[in-house]
């Protein structure tokens, strides 16, 4: 870790190109430990999955080393067990659709809740802000599984939510929330809310309120100030938060498993089924690649949006 900041700052005595080469070398050197770690324990092993997606499934699990397109084929098509007729794999499509829509809804709701929350925190006196931020993150020091169980406790038929609603006379009989898509949605909003609040806060903390002041001076209404001044200014935070929520939502496993009751799968659960009881690793691998493709699309949207923001800025 010798003087990371220095070489780039040193005046280019040996000419522009040499300095540039030195800078590039320094940057690569600094990034190397992280890259080695990732190649060893994250990205590298993923190549295995790519290879597995084009092999034959093994008898009990694993793969047989024979090329086969069956795994990919079955992502989209379903062959009937008994009469071999082909049809579109609507079960898969349903699961993709459910994953995408729950993730989008999660993103939207966390944004609706998170934006005012972040704004509220950012407008506290500076000494209080850290305290509020801590309050947002403290629940996250408890394990995800335990928190998910706690949510189950809140929303089950005789749970807090139903019994209070009944006491207040809002409902007559308990509403079945547990084991529905709504339960999964509630769980996901809960789990990912801080991932929305934190980047939004980071963006809002830098917000120049003189601009807001100026807008009011020009007789803008509150709504216009919000939509025309504040939102555009914190847009990078909105986009970053949405990405940080949307992508992990797509791949969520624990929340749908515990709160969805095993009937309402999302993509991750389907993939796990193929690697587990389904004993079809190539299909599982191909489904993983499909999910990855979804994520790439989301990221492309992100990059495009960001470059638009930068061009404007």
């Amino acid at each position: 870790m010798a003087g990371p900041a220095a070489p780039a700052l040193a005046p280019a005595r040996t000419g522009e190109t040499a300095a540039r080469a030195a800078r590039i070398r320094r940057n690569w050197l600094l990034a190397t430990p992280a890259l080695v770690l990732l190649l060893l324990a994250a990205s590298g092993p993923l190549l295995v999955v790519v290879v597995y997606s084009v092999l034959e499934p093994g008898e009990y699990s694993g793969v047989v080393w024979e090329l086969s397109g069956e795994g990919w084929f079955r992502v989209l098509f379903h062959r009937d067990i008994f009469d071999d007729t082909l049809s579109l794999a609507d079960a898969h499509l349903t699961i993709f659709w459910r994953s995408a829509s729950i993730s989008l809804l999660t993103t939207a709701i966390t944004l609706v809740l998170g934006f005012p929350t972040a704004y509220f925190i950012a407008t506290r006196p500076p000494t209080q802000r850290m305290l509020w931020l801590f309050l947002v993150t403290i629940p996250f020091w408890t394990n995800l599984l335990i928190r998910t169980f706690a949510i189950m406790e809140v929303i089950r038929n005789e749970g807090i939510l139903n019994s209070w609603a009944m006491k207040l006379g809002l409902i007559q009989a308990p509403i079945q929330i547990l084991y529905t898509d709504t339960a999964v949605l509630i769980g996901m909003v809960y789990v990912y809310l801080p991932l929305m609040v934190l980047p939004l806060y980071a963006a809002m903390e830098r917000l120049d309120f003189r601009l807001v002041e100026a807008a009011y001076d020009l007789y803008a209404s509150r709504w216009r100030v919000l939509t025309r001044v504040i939102v555009p200014l914190v847009r990078p935070g909105i986009v970053a938060g949405s990405i940080l929520v949307f992508i992990p939502s797509l791949g969520a496993y624990v929340t749908p498993r515990v709160l969805g009751g095993g009937k309402n799968m999302m993509i991750s659960n389907l993939i796990e089924l193929q690697f587990g009881e389904g004993r079809n690793w190539p299909l599982g691998a191909a489904l993983s690649m499909t999910l990855l493709a979804f994520v790439m699309v989301a990221l492309l949207v992100y990059v495009r949006n960001m470059s638009k923001v930068e061009r404007r800025g």
Partner: protein, 344 residues
């Protein structure tokens, strides 16, 4: 302060890395979570001066996948009956010949020549039980002794039934419900099985585990469930009864096997012999509340288990109980295909 913190952390990490170094005698057990009585382990440790480590898994397939990948460090695994032949066929188990061990004489004869391990060359009984129906009678007072509770739920139970996500149990029950034999390859029977299950699924509330909790507190009103779990539910909620489907119900057993790449083979064998002792076998049952396969263990069991209708199968229901044999590959493939379709 930062530097000291980093120092402390790396010391902690070092400690963790070296902490696994071999003690005098060790035994690594890979078992279902919350399934191993700590008292049993303590007794074994004290008797043989061996340090036992328990690691949990949550499904047969996770256990198989990990053991097959290798490099896991486990000595003992406790697969369900239908997974034992897979472990054997894949060459993952060591032939420890429990049938020649000292305590083998205690094993109940009905558990010796079992289809998954004829003559017990690999495995020792851990616990056995049945998969039937748990029903909360406060909502439905009909007969609980039928698979119709989940295959054809009565109106009172629509949207309130759970099915535990165990492929072999559920498919087995469904096959017997439509009149077939377990392990059948008959496509007409299996088509019926699939169509019936697919038609019933929308009437289910969930396909989940954890029924001991959820049936006790009334979140779920009926479920395909295991007998021991239902027994524990009844102790909390007396309205819950256990039904033995007359169309046929599933009898299962989990067995203790030693892995071929085990590092502590001798200790593992000692453990196999150890749990065939009636007193020790009773300790297993007292914890997870299932019967074991060892004669004479009853006298050491908790009082409430000796008479429980969930544990001691009533005479009139005995005939309907079927052991799931190990099916042919063709049958297994069909079952898997039906199951995956159902889970989606």
């Amino acid at each position: 302060m930062n530097r000291r913190l980093t120092g402390a952390l790396s010391a902690l990490a070092l400690l963790a890395l070296t902490g696994t170094a071999a003690a005098e005698g060790e035994l690594n057990i890979y078992n279902w979570g919350n399934y191993t009585n700590p008292e049993l382990i303590k007794k074994f440790e004290e008797t043989y001066k061996v340090k036992v480590t328990i690691t949990d898994y949550d499904s047969n397939s996770t256990a198989l996948t990990k053991v097959k990948a290798g490099g896991h460090g486990f000595d003992i695994v406790v697969p369900s009956a239908n997974y034992v032949p897979i472990f054997v066929q894949e060459g993952l188990l060591l032939e420890t010949r429990p049938d020649k061990m000292e305590n083998f004489k205690n094993v109940d004869p009905q558990w010796v020549d079992v289809p998954w391990d004829p003559g017990r060359h690999y495995t020792v009984p851990w616990q056995w039980g049945t998969t039937g129906i748990a029903l909360n009678t406060s909502i439905y007072s009909g007969d609980p002794n039928t698979s119709a509770i989940f295959m054809d739920p009565p109106p009172e139970l629509v949207g309130k039934v759970n099915v535990v996500p165990e492929m072999n149990d559920v498919i087995g029950l469904a096959i017997m419900y439509v009149g077939g034999e377990p392990c059948t390859e008959d496509k007409n029977v299996l088509r019926q099985v699939r169509d019936k299950l697919m038609a019933a699924k929308p009437k289910w509330q969930s396909m989940d585990y954890g029924m001991t909790e959820k049936m006790s507190n009334g979140d779920v009103m009926a479920s395909v469930n295991w007998n021991g779990s239902t027994f524990r539910v009844r102790l909390k909620n007396p309205k819950v009864v256990y039904g033995y489907p007359k169309e046929g119900y599933v009898v299962w057993m989990d067995s203790v096997a030693v892995l071929k790449d085990a590092k502590n083979v001798e200790n593992a064998k000692l453990f196999q012999n150890f749990i065939m002792d009636p007193e020790n076998a009773a300790l297993i049952s007292a914890f997870a509340r299932y019967a074991n396969g060892v004669k004479g263990s009853e006298q050491y069991m908790p009082e409430d288990m000796k008479t429980a209708p969930e544990i001691v199968v009533p005479e009139k229901y005995k005939a309907a109980g079927k052991f799931l044999p190990t099916c042919s590959k063709a049958a297994r493939d069909l079952y898997t295909a039906i199951w995956t379709e159902l889970r989606k």
